[in-house]
Amino acid sequence: MANLETDFIGIKSPNPFWLASAPPTDKEYNVRRAFEAGWGGVVWKTLGEDPPIVNVNGPRYGAVWGADRQLLGLNNIELITDRPLETNLEEIARVKRDYPDHAIVVSLMVPVNEDSWKAVLRRVEETGADGVELNFGCPHGMSERGMGSAVGQVPDYVQQVTEWCKTHSSLPVIVKLTPNITDIRKPAQAAKDGGADAVSLINTINSITGVDLDLFAPEPTIDGQGAHGGYCGPAVKPIALNMVAEIARTPDLRGLPISGIGGVTTWRDAAEFLALGAGNVQVCTAAMTYGFKVVQEMISGLSQYMDEKGFTSVDELVGRAVPQVVDWKDLNLNYVTKARIDQDLCIKCGRCYAACEDTSHQAISMSEDRTFEVIDAECVACNLCVNVCPVEGCITMERLAAGQVDPRTGAVVQDDYANWTTHPNNPAKCAAE
């Protein structure tokens, strides 16, 4: 079994699976259960200044479900911890003492002034915690008070607060980024410039999970009204993967450690984050949906995958896919594929036909007896048929070999690499001449 031990900015943990700062890490009781279940680390739910905040007393969560109530996305309007600072600090100290080999990072959110940060950092250091995570991400409630994403959306603030933390504490500092921003690289750069040891992302996404069509109110609904909350869970993973990759592949940010967050539900999700450059992952919704035991599948799955690949440490996986993440302009236009339908696997539902005929390129024919075939002269290899086909592996994209004629363009397929920048149709290229 592969060794899953990780060293993330000097913080060691038995595996790369940490619980994100969220309700599952709000109390000693939960965190002890998490460690017993196998989680490698936790980011303790965000501490603030006393007096503690007050949460709503109506629903804190809203959800998006699949047909069988599969939880696809979760949104929350819960705030940071609503327990006294002292209580949390005492519990952190106790748990860290009992679990010295597990990672405990403390999430923090205090007003944007140096004294506030200085004061809270000193208290955290006394607990023996392994590091701090600066919560610049929460998009609801706290942001209305000038904290959370209100900080994360202004790179100058991100840099400033990070600098304070590095000045007043020897603890490793992770800056948690909000995705509610146009270009994730800007706050990441600010964190780096402020001296952050790492960034973690994504925090939750501004969202309304639904509208109650009788009350005409957004969900979750509190006394007939609703406020936007933070969206997370499987639905946000693609957004998170992209933001992680953007940071990982940007030259100026290269080497900035990343803790990947956003919809990690299985070992495979975690492996994808690691491959795109995350040094570890943080999980919340999967644990909230299935309980802490879900980490056991993540551990066994990642181990098996690493064994199959011959990786002996998580580091060998981290960032392995980053070089292959490129700009559109770098994609090879001489890579020509056509859809192929395996008639033995086809169940004749006709979804590929409807999709292509109605919404794409009229590149699939349908016979009287419901045989569906690709018309190469029309197929642009868009992949929509593959995506809508209910049978895995029934429709595939196959590359035309060099020297073959693409019946759609009439051009002979070249075996060299040629991208948009070298293409004669490139308007930018013309403009440059």
């Binding site: 169940i347 004749k348 539902c349 006709g350 979804r351 349908m366 419901r370 209910p390």
Partner: protein
């Protein structure tokens, strides 16, 4: 001492009272909302879906399933009922395993089709439970149409005609409307008086008068009906039962399966309904299965269904055969009845084993029987009917007969399977043709 399964002869009350309710409970209990949404999610919304083609009434199945999936079962019901006004009954009695569900691509993919029948029932039940009738009549045309037979064909025809603005009178020889839905289908397929509820719901469209106790040839003549109406539709079904033509066929204990099924459907108290200890059913169709299974459920000790050809030739679907077997019915194939033995009352039926071409093999078997049900097919009854095609009324695709102004559909008309859903399609299509001829 109380009667049991072991009591010889034909007797009632073989079971404990609670067993009757359990035995005759809904064969396919209705889906609840969540079950329906999960079942609906399995539909692929196929292009030009094969299930639609396989449905004799061509219900837009993918559309109605999507309407269920999105929380609008009432809209789903309208999609169904627009094509098949008896969609509620068809959801219960259609042999979906040989129609829509056989054609479902998931049947091909994984041998487990979308549960179209049960989803259809979920939709139609939801609408009907609300007492909503979503169709309204067009402006009155002043035309009057007689519909003979209040079975599926007649009801579907009458509803469509009423919707088009015509005034319809339905005549039926029975005490209640419904035809085979009321008298000819196993009780566990249509529980809680659904057949009558459905008729009541259907009649809510208005413009339809039902006259029961009026049978063509006894109380009515085709000539008089033609004279009094602008058009006539015959949906009279098959009123006669084929005889076995055997020595001893008049022995006590031998009767038509259709009568047994009708009696059972009309019984207020199944514990009062007599059934034999050793029951033999002769035939291989749905009627034979319905009689055999219900005899078993009433407490018969041994029920044997005997069919003269091989299993694959039976009209009853594999599903129905398996249902019968699961209830404890013994199915004997390739055996033709040759004699009914007994002194006054039947005691044994003698069969000769035959091959699939019915050639005798010379080997015979006697099966003990105190009750025997004939279920070897029904036949058209009546004189003065339009021209026949074989043993049924000859019709065009739109149901026109050889007599001007007279249409026919359902089991009495040639062509098509003898299924409720086929009868509905034929009644509906004849109504449209009648409408065209009356106002065109």
């Amino acid at each position: 001492m109380k009667d049991t399964a072991l009591t010889p002869g034909i007797t009632a009350g073989r079971l404990e009272p609670r067993d009757y309710a359990e035995n005759f409970a809904d064969l396919h209990p209705p889906l609840d909302r969540h079950e329906a949404v999960v079942a609906a999610d399995r539909c692929y919304f196929c292009h030009d879906a094969p299930c639609i083609t396989a449905c004799p009434t061509e219900i837009d199945i993918p559309l109605f399933i999507r309407q269920i999936a999105t929380g609008t079962p009432e809209a789903a019901a309208e999609t169904i009922l627009d094509q098949n006004i008896l969609g509620g009954m068809c959801a219960r009695v259609c042999p979906t395993e040989t129609l829509c569900e056989e054609a479902c691509v998931r049947e091909l993919a994984e041998g487990k089709p979308v549960e179209i029948g049960r989803l259809q029932r979920y939709a139609t039940d939801t609408l009907m439970d609300r007492g909503v009738h979503p169709f309204t009549r067009a402006a009155p045309t002043g035309k009057r149409v007689a519909v003979v037979g209040a079975g599926p064909a007649g009801l579907a025809c009458a509803h469509r005609l009423a919707m088009r603005g015509h005034d319809v009178t339905i005549f039926d020889g029975h005490d209640k409307p419904g035809g085979l839905n009321e008298y000819g289908i196993a009780a566990y397929k249509t529980v809680e008086d659904f057949a009558q509820d459905e008729v009541d719901w259907l009649l809510k469209i208005g413009g339809i008068t039902v006259e029961t106790g009026k049978r063509l040839g006894r109380d009515l003549s085709l000539g008089a009906l033609k004279a009094d109406h602008d058009a006539v539709f015959l949906g009279i079904g098959l009123g006669g039962v084929n005889a076995l033509g055997l020595d001893g066929e008049d022995r006590a204990g031998l009767r038509d399966a259709v009568d047994f099924i009708a009696e059972l459907r009309q019984a207020d108290d199944l514990s009062q309904l007599p059934v034999g200890r050793d029951v033999v059913v002769i035939g291989g169709g749905m009627t034979a299965i319905d009689a055999a299974v219900q005899a078993k459920l009433l407490g018969a000790l041994n029920v044997t269904l005997v069919y003269r050809r091989g299993r694959e030739r039976m009209n009853a679907s594999v599903y129905e055969q398996d249902l019968a077997a699961s209830k404890g019915v013994t199915i004997v194939t390739n055996a033709s009845p040759v004699a009914v033995h007994g002194n006054g009352a039947v005691r044994e039926v003698e069969f000769e084993y035959t091959d699939d071409d019915l050639a005798p093999t010379g080997q015979r078997v006697r099966i003990p029987a105190d009750q025997v049900f004939r279920a070897i097919g029904q036949k058209l009854q009546g004189d003065g009917l339009p021209d026949l095609d074989g043993r049924k009324i000859r019709v065009t695709a739109a149901g026109r007969t050889s007599v001007e102004g007279v249409w026919a559909g359902g089991d009495c008309a040639a062509g098509g399977d003898d299924l409720t859903v086929t009868a509905v399609a034929e009644g509906r299509d004849a109504a449209e043709d009648i409408h065209k001829s009356l106002v065109g």
